[in-house]
């Protein structure tokens, strides 16, 4: 069927405005945004080049991926996702961001990172002594205070009537752990360590004396999310490229660059469980 040129032009303008790719000679532009809380180098200045390489790797006949921004602050990240002039079609975001904005931004989780090639994320409390119980009122070092709700509801939910823990921001969890073993006055009581940091702590000559206690559930890692069904025809090729990142030299380089050798389909049960914890007030 032939479509009048004028009609095509109008359709094209509308779809571009939504950031959605469509079949035409010139690949459509797909806005890509990254939000990584707790990592001070997750900025355009420091990480933009790496995300541009990821965007280049994902680009193909149907779509050209273009970086909209890299943020480590949830408010700034939200601004990116709400910018109608430079629409974001796909993002790599923390699970907390996904659950907090799932409905308002119309997010769909398409894939999950495998940082450290691990399936899921688990957090462990590390301190001078091991605790298997919720450490009521204690000071806990984390790089994730920007996502306190996630910490309190999902990572370390407090039992009913328990005195909440105090989350203390540390950009560097090693230094928080050193404060504990050095016996500094204002040292935290525990460090909330992700699995990669935990391995690093276990390997460190000074820090390996620390004890490991309470652990979180196995939680989702960072998620690749589609915004408001904007990916269109670019969705499947993108997912294939992400899933097969470790299958080619070029893909492996990108995987190393973004510290996730591949992306897998989100674990539905894990996501649902985290969602239920998140929904609890």
């Amino acid at each position: 069927m032939r479509v009048p040129a004028a009609c095509l032009a109008v359709t094209a303008a509308l779809m571009l405005a939504a950031g959605a790719p469509f079949a035409q000679d010139k690949p459509a532009e797909v806005g890509l945004a990254v939000y990584k809380p707790g990592e001070k180098y997750a900025t355009d200045e420091q990480a933009g080049e790496a995300i541009d390489k990821l965007a280049g790797h994902l680009s193909g006949d149907k779509a050209t991926f273009k970086r909209r921004g890299v943020r480590n602050n949830p408010t700034e990240a939200l601004k990116l996702f709400k910018d109608d002039k430079h629409p974001v079609a796909v993002g790599i975001v923390s699970p907390a961001f996904y659950f907090a904005n799932k409905d308002t931004l119309k997010l769909t989780a398409l894939a999950e990172a495998r940082r450290g090639n691990a399936d899921g994320a688990r957090y462990t409390l590390v301190g001078k002594s091991a605790t298997e119980n919720y450490p009521e009122g204690k000071r806990i070092a984390t790089s994730l205070t920007a996502e306190k709700e996630w910490l309190n509801r999902v990572v370390l939910p407090a039992p009913e009537n328990a005195k909440p823990v105090q989350w203390v921001q540390y950009d560097n969890l090693f230094d928080a752990a050193y404060e504990i073993i050095d016996g500094e006055d204002d040292a935290p009581d525990f460090v909330l360590a992700d699995s990669i940091s935990l391995q690093a702590i276990q390997k460190d000559d000074d820090l390996k004396v620390l004890k490991h206690g309470l652990q979180s559930e196995l939680l989702p890692q960072d998620l690749v999310v589609e915004v408001d069904s904007r990916l269109g025809a670019a969705r499947e090729p993108m997912l294939k490229a992400l899933n097969e990142l470790d299958k080619t030299d070029a893909g492996r380089k990108v995987g190393e660059l973004i510290q996730s050798p591949t992306f897998q389909k989100p674990d539905a049960a894990r996501l649902e469980k985290a969602g239920k914890l998140w929904a609890r007030k």
């Binding site: 990584k36 990592e39 001070k40 180098y41 997750a42 420091q46 990480a47 080049e49 790496a50 995300i51 940082r115 450290g116 950009d171 560097n172 969890l173 090693f174 230094d175 050193y178 404060e179 050095d182 992700d194 990669i196 940091s197 690093a200 702590i201 380089k253 190393e256 660059l257 973004i258 510290q259």
Partner: protein, 279 residues
């Protein structure tokens, strides 16, 4: 410009920036070496090496001098490639240029050439202190100029510098402690990398203990003290850093080591920037 202290026998560059960033690749730092032999032209080889050494030792040293040195070393290494001393001296010239010469592409070209030369030096003498040191420095510079080498560069620096520190070897005025300390200061902590303010301070204080007269040691310890003041909310460390910069780099009596020229200007500019950023 302040009064001079003892002539700098070793070059102590280490001002590469934040390595091991959040998104860094682990492309391997090149390990290529020269294939040349140990053939004739002894007189010409010796003359070229001497010219290169003289050019590098120009006082005060400027970029053109070191470029000439690198060129002469290059010619000499076209004749023979089995002399460890020539190889590491050549690599050192490239490391200097990797830090101070022109634009990024020029610096990267020198760094890559320096890596080839230092790899060859380590092939000739795998235990060589200078080879170990400048391999770490050049890896760091490459990682800084091309982030895709960042992760491997961090590994190389950590391995080389801890080896030298554990051996108790001094080179480049507390170079291993300074280079490793600066890496720990500027790199993020786990899970992204190995950075730690506490460990950085230990190394940089050690570098200052070893060579208090070397301005770079004072400069980076001051940077660490400013970071410590911010991170620990201890303003007395910022005061200490300001006094350190004044005494060792910016004051009228700040002692400039003999032979440094271009470097001294760069260090002073960095010291002023630190003061501005922490005012």
């Amino acid at each position: 410009m302040g009064k001079e202290v003892n002539k700098a026998q070793w070059l102590g560059m280490s001002a590469f920036l934040a390595l091991g960033l959040l998104f860094v690749s682990c492309r391997q730092v090149p390990n290529d070496t020269l294939n040349g032999g140990s053939g004739g032209e002894h007189v010409r080889y010796s003359r070229l090496v001497q010219e290169a050494r003289d050019a590098f030792e120009s006082s005060p040293r400027q970029v053109a001098d070191v470029e000439l040195a690198a060129a002469r070393f290059g010619e000499a290494l076209g004749i023979r490639t089995d002399e460890y001393a020539t190889l590491w001296l050549a690599a050192r010239a490239c490391a200097w240029l990797g830090e101070y010469a022109g634009d990024k592409s020029v610096r990267e070209a020198y760094v890559r050439r320096g890596l080839t030369w230092v790899n060859t030096a380590l092939k000739v003498n795998p235990e060589g202190v200078e080879g170990q040191f400048y391999h770490g420095v050049l890896s760091g510079l490459l990682g800084d100029l091309d982030n895709s080498y960042g992760m491997d560069a961090v590994k190389q620096i950590e391995a080389r510098m801890t080896l030298l520190i554990d051996r108790g070897t001094d080179i480049a005025h507390g170079g291993p402690q300074r280079v490793f300390g600066l890496l720990l200061l500027r790199a993020p902590g786990p899970p992204a990398s190995i950075g730690s303010l506490r460990n950085a301070r230990k190394q940089l204080e050690h570098a200052v203990e070893i060579a208090p007269q070397w301005p770079e040691n004072q400069l980076y310890l001051a940077e660490c003290e400013f970071a410590w003041a911010r991170d620990k909310d201890k303003p007395e460390f910022a005061t200490r850093a300001r006094e350190r910069l004044e005494r060792h780099l910016l004051g009228a009596d700040a002692p400039m080591p003999t032979g440094v020229g271009h470097e001294w200007d760069a260090w002073q500019a960095n010291a002023r920037k630190l003061l501005r950023d922490n005012s």
